[in-house]
Each structure stands twice: as C-alpha cells, then as structure tokens.
C-alpha cells in the first residue's frame, strides 16, 4: 500500500477517534498540535489502526513516535513484515 493511501486511511481513523471530521494531518503533525489527542485518544487511534490494517503494535513502539510521519512509516514497516 502506498504512503498516500495509508495517510488517507489513518486520517479517517484519527478523525473518527477524535470526533473531528475537519482534521487535516500531515507527516509533521504531532499529538501536541491537536488538543483532543490525549493518552486515551492515542489508545483509540492505536487500536483502530491495528484493526484497520491487521497489525499489532508493541508498547514501546507507541511511545517513541514523534509525529504522524513516524507513525506512517511504522505502519508501512509492519505491513511489509506481514507480507514477507
């Protein structure tokens, strides 16, 4: 799956989790930029992403993410590992 498509799908998940259909995400967006993105919302986003892409994250991986871009590349990495 190409990055743009993943970002689109991720945006839909995050919009749903944060209940904000106008939210626009770029690879540089951080959780701190979005007021409603607290630790609870983060868990919802993670679980929503796991379901949508059929992948599973480790606890430590979630903490390291600095922005949406890193989240995207982690998802890509996991998808590749699943295929391979």
């Amino acid at each position: 799956m190409e990055s743009r498509k993943i970002l689109e799908q991720l945006t839909a998940i995050i919009r749903d989790a944060l209940d904000d259909q106008t939210l626009v995400l770029t690879p540089e967006t951080t959780a701190a930029d979005v007021p409603a993105w607290d630790s609870l919302a983060h868990i919802n986003i993670v679980v929503g992403t796991e379901m949508a892409f059929g992948i599973k994250f480790k606890t430590a991986e979630l903490e390291q993410l600095r922005n949406v871009g890193e989240f995207l590349s982690l998802i890509e990495q996991k998808l590749k590992a699943n295929q391979g």
Partner: protein
C-alpha cells in the same frame, strides 16, 4: 550531598568534571566509566553500604536484561516469565524498604497481629527512581531495545548522578544512543556554559524560592486544623509553591548538570500551573513519571480493554465511548488503576492513596467533560472573553491541584481534612494579613481603605514568621504565571531532549552575553549566600 551545598559545588562537581575531561581523552569507554565511578562516589557520601545494594541491583537487572534481549525476537512465553521475575526482583526490595514497616504497623493497628515489630529501616536514597528506571529498561529489553548497551554504559545510565536520586526518569533509548556516540564525550564549552546557566536557574528556584518557604509550611502543617479560611489558603499556597520550585528546581539542575557533561535529558516540568485542564497538568507536572506510568500501567490496561471491546464487536471511537459502559471501561477503570498506584508510589500512608484517588476523580471528570460537555467554539469569541475562559480554566485546575497537594503534604488523612476544612471556611473567616507598612499606605487611599477595613477583608495584622507573607506568595505566583519557564529561557541552545512548547520574549531568551552573565552571576551569588537554610529536596523521600 545535595546539589545546593558547598561540598557538591566546590568539591564534587569540579573533581567529577575535570576527571571527565581527562578520561574523555582516553576514549568514550573511559569517560563513561568515570561517570559511573564518580556517581557511585556521589551516592557513597550519603551511605556507603547502599552502594553495594545499588551495584547488586544493577548486576541483577543487567543480567535479566541480557537474557531478555536474547529472547527478544522469538515470541515464546519464557520471556514473559523472565520479565515477571525481573519486575518482582525489583519490587521486593522496594516493598521491603518502603512499605513493610507501614503494613506491619497498620496490621497491628487493626489488631490483625498482636506483636509490635517496631520495624524501622532507612530508605535507600532514590530507590523508587532507580527501581523504576530499571523496570523500564527490562520492558524495553523484552522488545529488543538497547542491544548495544554494555555493562559500563548500563551502569552509567542507571547511576549518572544528576538523575540518580530524584529523576527525571529516563529510558534507555534516549540515553543509550548518547552514551554510544563518541561525539558526546568531546568537551564543548558551549555545553558547559548552557548547562551551568540552566543549573543556576534551578539552584535559585530551589534556594531562593523554595527553601525560604520550608519553615513556614512546616509550622502550618504541624497544626493543620487550627486555621481559618484565609490563613489555611496561605499555607496551602505556600506548600504548592514550595513543592513546585523545589522539584522543578531540582529537575532544572539535573538537566543543567547533564548538559555540562554533554548529555541531554528530557524536560520534567513544563509550567504545570499554567495548565488549562487536569489532563494537561499531568503532561506538564513530573512529566517523566507521567510518561512512565502511561507507558507501563495505563497503556497496557487501556489497550487490553480496547482490544477486548473490539473483539466483542463494540466500537472504540469517540461516539462509542459516549455510552455509560464505554466510559466506565475505557476511561474510569484505566485511570483509577493508574492514579491509585501513582499515589501509593509516593508513600505508604493513606493520604497518598487519597491523593491518587483525587487525581483519578479529576481526570475522570475532565474526560467526561470533554466527551459529554458542551463544545465551545473559540473562533467566534471576543479576545477578552477568550482570555477570561482560559484564565478561569487555569485557575480551576490550579485550585484542584492545590487541594490534592494539601492531602499530599499532610501527615495523615485527618490532618488533610483539617486543612481542607479550614480552606472552605468551616473554621470561620479571617482577614488577609497585611504588614503594617502596607497598611499605612492603604490608609491614604481614602474610600478604598475605608471599604476594605469596614468589610474586614484586610486587617493591619503584623506579619510574623509563622504565617506565609501574602506578598512573597504573590511574587512567586507572578513568576509561575507570567514569566517563561527555564527551558523557554534557554530555548536557543535547546539543552533538552523534548521539544520546547511556547517561547520566551526575545529579551528573556538566554544568550552568551555579558548582560546574561551578570544576571546569572547575581543569582548564583544570592543562592550561595542563602545556603545556610538549604533543605533536602522534597522528592528525596520518594
């Protein structure tokens, strides 16, 4: 040996730093080895016997860590057992030193046991902090982090003296790469200047703003039920400000000291009293503890609940949380679980349990408001109205935090209740004490002074040392609310790992100039002259 003492500043620090410069010439491993050695020396000054305990703890955790790393990529169950063994091995000594005495005396108190054990042990300094750091390390090892870290570097990671005793709580993935990078050990005078300046900010917070409140806070909390409304608030505020300047001062000093040695730490305090909500507050107050608890307690519980709901066909989006069962399982359970343990982490008393429960309740209300409360659209608001809304949010958060801090400081739950009862006016009302000089100024203000004295809001009470002076608290609140924080002042040379939120005005941004050297020189001199009354850091007891 506390950071704000002559032996530390004029004996230990110069030896540690010069030794570091020399060791660095021979190579990174020597420099790291020296950091460990001097840090153990730092710990030994306080209690040499516990150095052995610390070394055993390091050896134990490193061994388990290596074993976990060897199993990191096969998903066998044996690594879970190993991790459990490691966690228990860390928690047992913590339980022994910190909780056993309290449990035994409680058991005796409620007549579970009849024998008086009279169990007293000295708590090894910083045990909660280095235990937490190492449990975090084990969890990271299980997930394959920190393979390249050898025993020398691991020991330096755990013992490095700026954080050994009271944090910030570090992760191996943020310090490990720095210890592996040979660039870290090139002495740069820029780092020394920036680190020293950061240290001086912290030192003056601690010595000038926190320690000077210590005596009066002690007096207040020795008789917590004796005061009427105004005085109770003065004591509560005095403690909230003492704790903030003490602990954030300590954290600033830790960041500054580490920066002198070329190592960057994460931010621990980000102007918590400027928070606009309780959720926000915990992101800013003792941030590395919050981060740690989120990672190790909150996330696992919340993830498990969410995954189970998903598997049962229930949604986890914001809409699905808006049901009572959704809110209970997604918010209430994980928040109360985490905050109760966070409370007890601070000590064995019931007041710490209550402190945790209060914050759990605050956070739950905060989440409930976000989910069920009215949505305010800020865009259409007048600038002044918007500022008013923000201001009242900050004030509400602060008052809630102060109430919990009273419980935190009190020696028992009933003491805490005494102070809180005073704060809500259950012991009657009293006037704001104003020093007689200020009163004579007020008297010239004509109608205002007549109004104030007639309504008994102000009395010409001579200020004595047993009540916190309102003016000194006001000054501290001004510093807390109106001035930029340490990392914003030092932002141009970003000596921290975490990104810095907000910026200081240009004239308050530190530069390597004569003007700033003078300002910091004066701060340092003022701090040095106030060392006589210096106190042990409040967080050393945890």
């Amino acid at each position: 040996m506390v950071f704000s003492s002559y032996p530390f500043l004029f004996l230990f620090l110069p030896i540690a730093f010069v030794g570091y410069c020399l060791a660095a010439r021979f190579g990174a491993t020597y420099a790291v080895g020296w950091l460990t050695l001097s840090s153990l020396g730092f710990y030994a000054v306080w209690n040499p016997v516990f150095v052995i305990f610390l070394l055993c703890s390091i050896a134990f955790n490193y061994t388990i860590g290596r074993a976990l790393l060897a199993r990191a990529h096969d998903d066998s169950r044996s690594s879970n057992w190993l991790l459990a063994l490691g966690v228990v091995g860390n928690l047992l000594p913590l339980a022994y030193f910190k909780y056993l005495g309290a449990l035994l005396s409680f058991a005796q108190h409620v007549s579970l046991i009849s024998r008086d054990f009279d169990f007293k042990v000295i708590l090894p300094l910083g045990i909660s902090f280095f235990t937490f750091t190492q449990i975090g390390y084990l969890v990271d090892c299980q997930e394959g982090e920190g393979k390249e870290i050898d025993l020398v570097r691991y020991s330096a990671f755990v013992t490095f003296f700026p954080h050994l005793i009271a944090g910030p709580i570090l992760h191996i993935r943020e310090i490990g790469p720095q210890l592996l990078n040979s660039e870290t050990f090139r002495i740069r005078w820029r780092n020394v200047a920036v680190g020293l300046s950061f240290f001086i900010i912290g030192l003056s917070k601690k010595v000038l703003l926190a320690d000077s409140l210590a005596e009066v806070v002690k007096i207040g909390f020795a008789h917590p039920g004796d005061f009427r409304m105004c005085t109770s608030w003065l004591y509560a505020l005095a403690y909230a400000l003492q704790l903030y300047f003490d602990f954030s001062g300590y954290s600033d000093m830790a960041i500054g000291l580490a920066a002198m040695f070329g190592i960057r730490f994460p931010i621990n305090f980000d102007s918590p009293y400027k928070s606009t909500s309780m959720i926000d507050y915990w992101q800013r107050f003792h941030a590395t503890l919050t981060r740690y608890l989120t990672l190790l307690l909150y996330n696992p519980v919340a993830l498990r609940v969410q995954r189970r709901r998903m598997a049962a066909g229930l949604g986890v989006s914001r809409r699905d949380q808006r049901t009572l069962s959704g809110f209970a399982s997604l918010v209430v359970v994980p928040v109360f679980f985490t905050m109760t343990l966070a409370g007890i982490w601070h000590g064995a008393g019931f007041q710490f349990l209550l402190f945790g429960l209060m914050h759990a309740a605050y956070l739950t209300v905060n989440h409930a408001w976000r989910m069920f409360g009215p949505k305010l659209n800020k865009d259409g608001l007048n600038r002044w109205v918007a500022a008013g809304v923000t201001g009242s949010k900050v004030l509400l958060t602060f008052v809630a935090a102060v109430a919990a801090m009273v419980v935190f400081r009190a020696s028992s739950v009933s003491d805490a209740m005494g102070m809180l009862a005073g704060m809500v006016g259950m012991h009657g009302f009293d006037a704001i004490p104003v020093p007689s000089t200020a009163m004579s100024v007020l008297q010239h203000l004509g109608p205002i002074s007549t109004f104030l004295t007639r309504t008994h809001h102000v009395l010409a009470v001579p200020i004595d040392d047993s009540i916190p002076a309102p003016a000194s608290l006001a000054l501290r609140l001004f510093i807390v609310w109106a001035l930029p924080n340490s990392q914003q002042i030092m932002a141009k040379f970003s000596p921290t790992l975490t990104a810095i939120r907000g910026a200081a005005p240009v004239w308050l941004t530190w530069q390597p100039t004569v003007r700033w050297a003078l300002v910091f020189g004066v701060l340092l001199a003022a701090s040095l002259m106030s060392f006589q009354q210096t106190k042990v850091f409040l967080y050393f007891q945890f």
